[in-house]
Structures are given as structure tokens and as C-alpha cells.
Symmetry: C2
Subunit: 337 residues, 2 copies
């Protein structure tokens, strides 16, 4: 598809247009075997060590939301990108771009939050940078965190490793982060019981990897939600994923917000949810391991991988129909992370 002349909001949404930007602008120019993997983290070798390396820029609005803030989000997001690639997160960097006039007390609160999140996730922020731009040249504060971790799982974790028959598991209800941001932004005070699920998934991932030697792929379902992640993985694996809408965990409160505002919870962002693809025989053990962890006690098997070569996600709806889940064009809610 021909690239747009101007960058649209949807180019940053993690959906189809982000894919086009990556395929048409970044890969042809910067392409190398690491980047071509298109995973959340690059796996690189330094000496005899296999190291995962990842980066994410955080531009969430508002900076403070129920269940977290940009500081904790910037730690969790980067730690989770490392964890789902099979790495133990170790060290983070943080680059701050701050608008002139930003309240120092708010910055202190955000850095406090980063520090707590890092301590909980067992990582250290070891290097950083601060730039201040004139009033109006940014919106408050943006943080870019990069992370490095040691690769600890001795098998490849990628869509190409997924096999027909694999179980598809999610660790809990979807859409909480997106719903919390929507509530915070639209001042829906009466719905403010929805908290972001923003959380570090490293120790849950360790449980999962210890439970089975046949984990084939994991991905955290952030921008674009569970729908975008499943559609992307199905496409990359070449297999169809069949899921049952009825089995996808969803809070009543999030369902209500989505119905009221007209959003599909399947495409709402998460910041503490991951999808696991594993051999079906191991699914009970993996589920048991997840259930024993506080971030996985609502883990549910939502579907199965089927051979077809079409790379689609087919959802059996509540009323028994079938619906193909595409990658969203862009993002339902801009500046969600």
C-alpha cells in the first residue's frame, strides 16, 4: 500500500498503519536480522551472552491515571517486553523530555513511581538523560525507557514456533488499562473503579516458563489490545487462531464503559496482560502455574491454533456466530501509553 504523505495518529497506534511505517520506512533503511524479527525485543549476542534489548517511548495522557502514572508505566512496559521474549529484565535507561514550566513536584512523584516499579520488578535504572523543551514544544513530559535483560529460556519464543493444536492462554481480564485511561480522560467519575492493570510480568513469566518446556510464544497485549496481538501473531505464524468470545475474561465495569462509549474491549490496551501459546498437553500445567501467581489467578484458555495457512483470528461470538478479528487500522484511543 502506498505510504501516506503525512504521518497520521494511526501510524503510532500499533495497528496496520504502524506496520506499514515499519515495513516501508524503517526496515528498508535500518534492516538487519535483529530488527527483521519484529519482536518486542531484539535478541543480540555480546561475547557468549545472549541479551535482549528493547525500547519504548511513553506519551500517555493524562500522566496520572487510576492504577498508575507515566513513571510506573514506563518501567512496566519495558520490563514486560523483555519478559515475554524469555529474558530476565536487569537494567533500564530512562530519557526524559520535559516541557519548560512542568511542576517539579509532579516530576518527583513520577520518578518516585518509577523507582517503586523498578524495585518491584527487580531492575535498576542505571543511566538516563533529561532534555527540557520550551513551553508548547511538548505536552508535559515524555519518557523513553530502554531495557536489557539476560535471555534465560533455552528455546526460541516466536510466532514461527507456534504449532497447530497449541493452546492460547491469557492471564486475566482484558481492556482495563484502556478503560482506566478513557475514564481519567473523560472525567467519568462514576466509573472510576476501573484501575489500569499496569504491572510487571517478569515473575509471572518465570512461573510460566518453569511450568512447561513447550512454551512457543508470548506477547504482552498492549497497544491495540488482545485483538491486535492475536491478529499480528496469527499473520506472522501463518496459522489460524480460533477463540471463543465467551472465554475471554472481561470485567463487567469495562464492558459497561465500552458499551457506553462505543469501544470494542478486544482492542483496548492492556499493560499487565500477556498471551501465551503452548503445547495443548501442557496447558493445564501452565494454567496452574499462572493461577498460583497474583497476576495470573484469572488466567483462562481462550482458544486453539489451527492449521490453515491463512493466518486469521476467528472469534466465535457470544451468540454463536463467527467473526474475523483484523489488526485495527490504528489505535482506538491515542496516547494510551
Amino acid at each position: 500500500m502506498k505510504l501516506h504523505d503525512k504521518i497520521l495518529l494511526e501510524h503510532g497506534g500499533g495497528g496496520q498503519l504502524t506496520g506499514e511505517l515499519i515495513e516501508q520506512v524503517f526496515l528498508p533503511r535500518l534492516g538487519n536480522p535483529h530488527l527483521m524479527q519484529l519482536t518486542d525485543s531484539a535478541l543480540v549476542a555480546i561475547g557468549d551472552q545472549r541479551i535482549c534489548f528493547t525500547t519504548d517511548s511513553y506519551v500517555v495522557s493524562p500522566l496520572f491515571f487510576p492504577g498508575g502514572d507515566i513513571g510506573s508505566l514506563a518501567v512496566h512496559g519495558t520490563v514486560n517486553d523483555l519478559a515475554v521474549c524469555g529474558a530476565q529484565p536487569l537494567f533500564l535507561s530512562a530519557g526524559f523530555i520535559i516541557e519548560e514550566g512542568f511542576a517539579t513536584a509532579q516530576l518527583e512523584q513520577i520518578v518516585d513511581s518509577m523507582a517503586s516499579a523498578a524495585a518491584l520488578a527487580g531492575v535498576q535504572v542505571v543511566t538516563g538523560d533529561t532534555k527540557v523543551v520550551p513551553h508548547g514544544a511538548t505536552d508535559g513530559l515524555y519518557i523513553t525507557t530502554s531495557g536489557i535483560g539476560r535471555f534465560v529460556y533455552d528455546k526460541p519464543l516466536s510466532p514461527s514456533t507456534i504449532r497447530p493444536g497449541d493452546a492460547v492462554i491469557v492471564n486475566g481480564p482484558v481492556g482495563d488499562h484502556g478503560a482506566a485511561i478513557l475514564c481519567a480522560r473523560q472525567d467519568l467519575g462514576f466509573l472510576s473503579t476501573v484501575l489500569s492493570d499496569s504491572a510487571p510480568l517478569g515473575s509471572l513469566v518465570r512461573n510460566i516458563l518453569n511450568a512447561s518446556p513447550h512454551i512457543h510464544c508470548m506477547r504482552d497485549a498492549t497497544r491495540g489490545g488482545l485483538g491486535a496481538v492475536l491478529a499480528e501473531i496469527a499473520q506472522q505464524s501463518g496459522h489460524d487462531i480460533f477463540a471463543r468470545e465467551n472465554d475471554i475474561p472481561l470485567r463487567e465495569s469495562v464492558r459497561g464503559i465500552c458499551e457506553m462509549l462505543g469501544f470494542d474491549p478486544l482492542y483496548l490496551a492492556n499493560e499487565g496482560k500477556l498471551v501465551v501459546f503452548c503445547a495443548a498437553d501442557d496447558a493445564p500445567a501452565v494454567l496452574a502455574a499462572m493461577h498460583s501467581h497474583e497476576l495470573g489467578h484469572e488466567a483462562t484458555r481462550i482458544g486453539t491454533v489451527q492449521e490453515s495457512g491463512r493466518g486469521r483470528v476467528v472469534l466465535t461470538t457470544l451468540i454463536g456466530g463467527e467473526r474475523v478479528i483484523d489488526r485495527p487500522t490504528g489505535e482506538l484511543v491515542p496516547r494510551i501509553c
Copy 2:
């Protein structure tokens, strides 16, 4: 000193106020032995490998300037931070924050420039992220690059390793980057022969490290220029640095721009200049190694370290007087990098 209630432009300038922000906001909260080193890169261990890790956010304005653009700058800056710490730069990440409506052709030009700079520096961009924010929520495009490299010098390189008697060497004329940005910004067309010195210093650093086992410290003289870097290193080392203004290489064109606009070239940013502290006996060999490299053929010894415990930089001026060089409060020119 009491922290300001609001973040000022000077907090991002690499000078005294940046130091206060680091010491009063970041270190007390995120502090760990790696961060406390306050070097451009953190030195961390992963297994048996010693790895350098660094990050910088680039907010330069304008995005394109004589001698480079934000893409090449974002590669050079990060590669140089690794190199001066004694590491071989290997892998970069790149996080883009783009304003909605940004011209795709300009983005392509910037990514082309990153790719060329990375190839020249012998590094790969292995992972990245793109966020798009609504029109007005950023100024065009910001890039945050992080880098990892393998530590290759078997001695510590830091201000605390500097000894009285050490030679102080700079690899060429100072202030070119700052002058080029000033010209581009003020549309001083008639002075447009000044090009940014933005360049990757990795191979020059290899020459330097191979020339002497007694290199004690290196630092790239970016934000705040040579003046800020010398003042910071003197303070950290506890020794005085005596330099001769007459020996500091400076282009006539840059001197002219500074005289016209009222800037001190000593505080103008560089993006391809470094300061080397080495044992005086090895200075001739280090200078010879630098002279044989295209980025060091104007290398000059500009001063000597003296014992005093006061940590000052004393400059003998052109007319024979003495002037103490302090860390600047902020930055002469905001958004220089």
C-alpha cells in the same frame, strides 16, 4: 540549593541546574551504584560480560542543519557516549515521538541519515518504537536512542583516575556544532560555511586506547561545550586543570559567529569532539595516534592537570590573564541536541 518549583530550560542544559536535578530528584530516588557513577554510560555486568549502556533524547531544532540532522546526531551522540567510556558500540535502539502531520518524506530522510551514520559507526539499530502525538503536542520529531557496547579497555576510565601531571588533549576545533545550529536557526546565510562536527568517534577512540595504557579519562564535549566538560571533570577529580586559551583549537568562522552573537565558544556544543586525559609521558604517542585519524588530525594538547584539591579549571587567556571556567548555569543555546 533549593530546587525550583518549575522545570526551567536550564534544567536540560547539561550545566549546574541539570546537576541539581540529577542530585535532588533522580539520584535520591533511583540511586544505585551504576547510576551514582554519573558517567555518560553505565557499566554493568551480564554473566561474564562487561557491558556499557547509555541513552540520550534528541530534541534538536531545526531537525536539519549544516553537517547533519537529528537522525545522524542521534546515532553519533549515543555511539560517542559508549566510545568515551571505553566500549565498542554494538547495538542501538531508537524511539521516535512524531507530531501528527509530520511529512513522511522528512521522516524517510532522517531514517536514511540514521542508517548511514549507523553503518559508518559499525553499529546496528536492532529495536525501536514509534509514537505519534496530536499536532501541537510535540515539535516535529524527537528521537531517543539507547546503545549497548562491549567494554574493551581493561583499565578504569573516570575522573577519579586522573592524576596530577596528566596531559589534557582535545581532538580538534571546538564549537562547530553549536555555531552550525545557531546559523541554521538565525538564517545567517552568509555564515553557512560552518558545518556541525557531528561524527562517530569510535574508531578514533580505538586509536587513542591502542596508543597508551595510561589513558585515564575521556569525555565527549557535547552540551555545555568544552568549558562545561572540563569544569565537571575538574570538580569530580578534585584536581585543578590548567589550560591555555591560545592552545584551544577554534575556527575563525566560529570565532566570528561568537563575536557577532555574543557567545563564548568554550561553552558551545560539539558532537564530534572529545577530551582525553592521559599520562604526560604518553601524550606524544596519543597525539600521534590522533593525528593519523581523520577526526583527530587537528588534535592539540590544551593543558595539564595540577594537584590542588580545589577542582577548578583555570584558563590562561590570550592576553596572559587567568580566568576560572565554571560550569554554565544552563545551556547557551536550547535544543542544541
